[in-house]
């Protein structure tokens, strides 16, 4: 029975911080890809683009209906057995792809709902002056939709950031994996995992702060 080792905990931070970069890089890349993909998926749903629409419905259903961990395993361990071209896929890329696909499905749904919540009169007022569908979308409808969707998009991005910890199961050494290594050599499991938790918590608090600032800024506009 050992007691809580504060010095050990404090000493872990510099070690873990060295692996924070890879966590943040993974989160940043997956966030960008997920957002772009979510927009494409949402637009296919909104405009009911033939064929693609059906595919997107199934895509969203699958990625929302199965656990992220299972998706990552299929992508990294499973698919290369079927598709030889994927054998060279490294754990980092697999994690980024898996996180992107998973969260794009959720974000597509909130973007779709937000786009459809923009009154039809906003589209009509755009068309009535000769705008194209793309112009109406980009200049008038999407800015309004993004404002509506922003809180839920930000929540998904925070969720995505926390979910990067699953990448350790693909053998990627990010902060979660590093903490596990430290724990298994020192046997100080509580301190090790607490350190990871505190680091995630800190980043999420920072993100939430930025989120509320951004929302306040946008709600001031109109």
């Amino acid at each position: 029975m050992s007691s809580f080792d504060f010095n050990y905990l404090a000493g872990l931070f510099p070690i873990l911080f060295r692996y924070l970069g890879i966590t943040l890089q993974m989160a940043a890349m997956a966030s960008v890809v997920a957002l772009v993909l979510a927009l494409v998926l949402a637009l296919i749903r909104v405009f009911k683009i033939p064929l693609a629409n059906g595919f997107v419905v199934v895509f969203i259903s699958f990625f929302r209906g199965t656990p992220l961990l299972v998706q990552l395993f299929i992508l990294y361990y499973g698919l290369p057995q079927l598709i030889p071209a994927l054998i060279g896929l490294d754990a980092f890329s697999a994690a980024v792809i898996g996180l992107s696909l998973h969260f794009s499905a959720y974000m597509a749904e909130s973007l779709r709902a937000a786009i459809q919540a923009v009154p039809r009169s906003q589209w009509e007022a755009s068309y009535a002056f000769g705008m194209t569908r793309i112009q109406a979308l980009r200049r008038i409808v999407l800015p309004q939709a993004v404002r509506t969707a922003l809180p839920s998009l930000m929540n998904y991005l925070i969720d995505l950031l926390k979910s990067t910890s699953l990448a350790f199961t693909l053998g990627l050494t990010e902060i979660m994996a590093k903490a596990q290594m430290e724990a298994s050599s020192s046997f100080k499991f509580f301190e090790s995992y607490l350190a990871v938790a505190l680091i995630y918590w800190g980043i999420v608090l920072l993100s939430t702060h930025l989120q509320s600032k951004l929302e306040a800024h946008l709600s001031k506009a109109y």
């Binding site: 009169s121 068309y127 002056f129 705008m131 112009q135 008038i140 109109y222």
Partner: protein, 244 residues
């Protein structure tokens, strides 16, 4: 200048517009009156293809569009020449007053940002709202929003402006300022087709009054003819409600 021929439209198998023919000359102000549910809005929306007619043609200065074979590009060109003023204003909610007016100038009329904003500010001061340039629609009264809605159409170099009951959604206190603005446009010989319930206004401002009922044009003529000496019993019955 605007030639509307044989326009028909039905919704869910129910015939709403029955073979409408209407010509509007340059500088003319045409007021469309008639009972509600008669197809006035549908006609106006068909004229700039917010609704695609089932059949018929719209021609404006060399551009003819057939309902049965319309190309997106032609439809956009038609709309560009026939901007719309909506009953519920429908200003772009994410844009300020000046941006609302500048937006079509930038995206559709391909003006530079500076030029578009300069035009927009000029229009705002024309309609007496220069001090509201940076206000968003939600911060403006109904009357102010509708004046900007009209300003948004005025600012373009369009051939004619379509207005669908521009004062019907307004609190009574704001109706006057909007009608005054439209009157001014009429004096400047701006071509307009206006659907309205304001009979006194139609009588005073319109060059021609068109009475619609049951999806068709029942009678048309100068305000004196239609209001002073309506020929069709349906026109007489409709107008009787306003002259008591």
């Amino acid at each position: 200048m605007i030639n509307i021929s044989n326009i028909s439209k039905s919704f869910d198998g129910q015939s709403i517009l029955k073979n409408i023919n209407l010509q509007v000359n340059t500088g003319e102000v045409v007021a469309i009156i008639g009972p509600s549910g008669t197809g006035k809005s549908t006609l106006l929306r068909c004229i700039n293809f917010l609704e695609t007619p089932d059949s018929g043609q719209i021609a404006i200065n060399g551009l003819t569009i057939d309902a049965k074979q319309s190309h997106d590009k032609d439809v956009r060109e038609l709309r560009k020449q026939l901007p719309f003023v909506f009953q519920n204003y429908a200003l772009y909610a994410n844009l300020s007053a000046v941006q609302n007016i500048a937006e079509p100038l930038k995206t559709v009329w391909k003006q530079s940002r500076e030029q578009a904003e300069q035009t927009a500010l000029q229009v705002l001061s024309d309609i007496g709202l220069a001090d509201k340039a940076r206000h968003y629609p939600s911060q403006l009264s109904g009357g102010q929003q509708q004046r900007i809605g009209i300003g948004r159409a005025m600012a373009t170099q369009a051939q004619a402006i379509l207005m669908d009951e521009p004062t019907s959604a307004l609190d009574p206190e704001w109706v006057g300022e909007v009608l005054t603005l439209i009157k001014r446009l009429a004096e400047q010989k701006q071509t307009m087709i206006i659907v309205t319930h304001e009979m006194a206004f139609a009588r005073e401002v319109a060059d021609r009054v068109v009475f619609m009922s049951d999806g068709g044009i029942v009678e048309q003529g100068s305000p004196e003819e239609v209001f002073g000496n309506p020929k069709d019993p349906r026109t007489q019955r409709f107008l009787a409600r306003f002259t008591r």
